[in-house]
């Protein structure tokens, strides 16, 4: 999909940074649009088809979080949203629920940005095929009586890029974990690897981004996404 028909919208209130990002991406063959703040970006999004949005968070007039909230409310269904910020001041649970895929720190190297962008534009079928060789720090084993009931009770939800579910233990962010989740009634299992994106002790929920989904789980998980399309990258379960 890396070609001239892929349109990227870059939003930053820093003109120089906007210029540099635009140069990098047009060199890779993307069509690049720019906006200086959330309001300008929203104007572009409502008039043009955009495949990916790369946005700063702190901006005048309309900040990045307000922008993705509007996108979510307007159901603009952007395939990919990446936040870039020098300051970790956004709640990852909320951001991922609003469809944000990745939050990258500033300063940001060209390769890093392009790699994340490329990965986020991949077709879903080509994702999560290979387990990573990195060693998981933890294995999350849990069992639900029914998939249907746990979805209704917001105890298990699948998003575009990961799952959130009830888990009593608090986990460190960014930790690579093994997943072993069973649903008794449907006799389904979710086996795979994921990266902890957020962990909330208050309501015992954890948000995990998929890294690898085992073959025996792939079919029903992808079907779940199709049957019940959620725009959230990782739902917030509540």
């Amino acid at each position: 999909m890396k070609s001239g028909n892929t349109t990227i919208l870059v939003v930053d209130d820093e003109p120089e940074l906007l210029e540099i990002f635009a140069i990098w991406m047009s060199r890779e063959g993307y069509t690049v649009l720019t906006a200086a703040n959330g309001a300008e970006a929203l104007k572009v999004l409502t008039s043009t088809k955009v495949d990916a949005l790369i946005s700063d968070i702190r901006m005048p007039v309309m900040d990045g979080l307000t922008l993705v909230r509007r996108i979510y409310e307007m159901k603009l269904q952007l395939p990919s949203i990446i936040f870039v910020s020098g300051f970790g001041d956004v709640n990852p649970r909320e951001a991922h629920a609003l469809g944000v895929e990745a939050m990258l720190p500033k300063p940001l190297g060209r390769k890093h940005l392009l790699n994340v962008l490329e990965a986020s534009l991949k077709e879903r079928e080509s994702l999560w095929l290979e387990p990573t060789e990195e060693i998981a720090t933890d294995t999350l084993v849990t069992e639900f009586s029914s998939l249907k009931l746990s979805e209704e009770a917001c105890e298990f939800q699948v998003g575009r890029g990961g799952v959130c579910f009830r888990y009593s233990r608090a986990l460190p962010e960014d930790a690579l974990v093994k997943l072993s989740i069973a649903f008794t009634e449907e006799q389904l299992r979710l086996n795979g690897q994921g990266r902890v994106r957020w962990s909330a002790a208050k309501d015992e929920r954890v948000g995990v981004e998929f890294v690898y989904v085992a073959p025996e789980s792939r079919e029903w998980v992808l079907a779940r996404m199709d049957e019940n399309p959620v725009y959230s990258f990782i739902p917030s379960c509540g």
Binding site: D13, E14, E16, L17, I20, F21, I23, W24, R58, M59, P60, V61, D63, S85, G86, F87, D89, K106, P107, L108, G109, R110, K111
Partner: protein, 488 residues
């Protein structure tokens, strides 16, 4: 047995009328005197309750009355020979007299132990010198609040002489605070001691007071001058508040400042990254591209530096810094850099009004804190109002012998009821938790320290906070041009 025996005593005098009457008159007068003496004694004892040994007085009275009776009998026996009765009464008198003697003997040591008046006077003098030499102030009052004693320290501290003794406290020191008066009245009424701090306005005097009830029904007050302590305490409080405010402003702006610094870093990083990658790939980079990239990096790093310079406003209090010649327009620029992130992300336009003003002598960190405070305050006023017009201007101008820094905002203005309170410590119109309200009052304290003022006024119908600082004669240097710059 008590019948008359023998002849009347008059026979012995051969009824000589002169001799007879001499005895009658003398004995009668002696008896009268002896009857009157106990009355005098009773009067003394009843008036001087503090005189000990009431028993001996009773004995004296009895024995004297008895003696009086025997003399009366002498008169009667001149005509009536009732010598048995007369003798019996004499015997009784003898018993009472002996008893009195024995009692007097017994009491002798105790009576001798009664201090001599001279000794009492000396003891009194010593006590007085102790009270006069103590560093504590002593003020004694009787139950009617009349001042009975005031030691030397108290007279010095309260600036009065000994004439004040005998006056009623409330007349001698009429401007007492209500709280002080209530405390003293409480001690007088409850007879329980009290400790408290009092302030006496006419002398600008703070004291630490112990008020004690006395046995004679009055109140004695012991007090110390703590004015200096209080002044230091106030100063410490101001410094503490300054410190807290600095931390609060820092916390408020930390995110913005981090963003402000991460942006230039991001640009420099990206430019350098770009050049390095192109060079790695072995491509030759045209020199104008390198020059442009470097120019961008230099300009951007300069921007980051100026933000860091502005951060020294938080590095220390500045209260004890020496005063230096300072360019106010430069200080304005640096302060604006600090807050510009906050302004920009909330869509508030902040611009500097250019002006030429001489350098002034000041503690730049403190003046920077005032400017910061004014800008943050204006920001809050606009942000809270949600009005469509969102701008703030800051600029310095010379007005006679002073420099005026005006911070004007497009906000709704300050309601008249808030105006007079606005500079009071901890007064805030913001919701609870949104601000400490200590900022403006402290800013005003700093301005006063510099011989200046901070006031609220109007410019073309917009709220204006005006900082006025004096330009000291002979200390001004060449005018400094403020850079005209729209920041947001």
């Amino acid at each position: 047995m008590f019948k008359s025996v023998g002849l009347p005593h008059g026979f012995c005098f051969l009824w000589n009328p002169q001799l007879l009457w001499l005895h009658v008159v003398s004995d009668s007068l002696i008896a009268l005197a002896y009857f009157l003496i106990p009355l005098a004694l009773i009067r003394i004892v009843s008036k001087r309750k503090d005189i000990p040994f009431n028993g001996i007085f009773f004995c004296f009275a009895t024995f004297i009355v008895a003696c009086g009776i025997t003399h009366l009998m002498e008169v009667i026996t001149l005509w009536h020979p009732i010598y048995w009765i007369s003798g019996g009464l004499k015997a009784l008198t003898a018993v009472v007299s002996l008893a009195t003697f024995v009692l007097l003997l017994k009491l002798t040591p105790a009576i001798l132990a009664i201090p001599h008046e001279r000794d009492l006077a000396r003891a009194n003098e010593e006590l007085n010198s102790v009270l006069e030499s103590t560093t504590m102030c002593v003020l004694a009052m009787d139950p009617e609040w009349k001042i009975t004693y005031l030691n030397g320290n108290a007279r010095r501290l309260l600036a009065v002489d000994k004439q004040v003794s005998g006056k009623v406290l409330w007349d001698a020191f009429p401007a007492q605070e209500q709280a002080t008066r209530e405390r003293l009245e409480k001690v007088m009424a409850t007879r329980n001691p009290e400790e408290y701090e009092a302030y006496y306005e006419p002398l600008d005097l703070s004291t630490s007071v112990h008020a004690h009830p006395t046995e004679s029904g009055g109140v004695t007050v012991f007090f110390n001058d703590v004015s200096e302590q209080k002044r230091l305490q106030r100063q410490l409080e101001v410094e503490r508040a300054l410190r807290e405010q600095r931390i609060e402003s820092l916390a408020q702006m930390a995110g913005g400042i981090a963003h402000e610094i991460s942006n230039p870093l991001g640009i420099i990083h990206a430019r350098a990254n770009d050049l390095a990658e192109v060079a790695h790939e072995g491509e030759s980079v045209p020199s104008e591209v390198v020059i442009a990239a470097c120019a961008s990096m230099l300009k951007t790093s300069q921007r980051a530096m100026s933000i860091l310079r502005g951060l020294r406003m938080f590095a220390r209090e500045g209260t004890h810094d020496p005063m230096f010649m300072t360019s106010i327009p430069e200080l304005i620029e640096q302060t604006v850099e600090l807050v510009s992130a906050r302004y920009r992300t909330h869509g508030v336009l902040l611009s500097i009004v250019p002006g030429v003003v001489p350098k002034i002598r000041c503690r730049e960190v403190q003046i920077g804190q005032i400017l910061l405070n004014m800008l943050n305050n204006s920001f809050d006023a606009i942000d809270g109002a949600g009005s469509t017009e969102r701008w703030v201007t800051i600029g310095a101008a010379q007005a006679g012998e002073c420099i005026q820094v005006d911070v004007v905002d497009s906000g709704p203005g300050v309601a008249p009821e808030h105006r007079q309170h606005l500079m009071e410590p901890f007064y805030t119109t913001k919701p609870l938790g949104a601000g400490m309200g200590v900022g403006l009052s402290l800013s005003r304290v700093i301005a006063h320290d510099h011989g200046g003022t901070l006031e609220l006024t109007d410019v073309d119908g917009h709220t204006c906070f005006r900082l006025t600082l004096p330009v000291h004669a002979g200390e001004s240097e060449a005018g400094v041009q403020a850079q005209p710059e729209g920041v947001a």
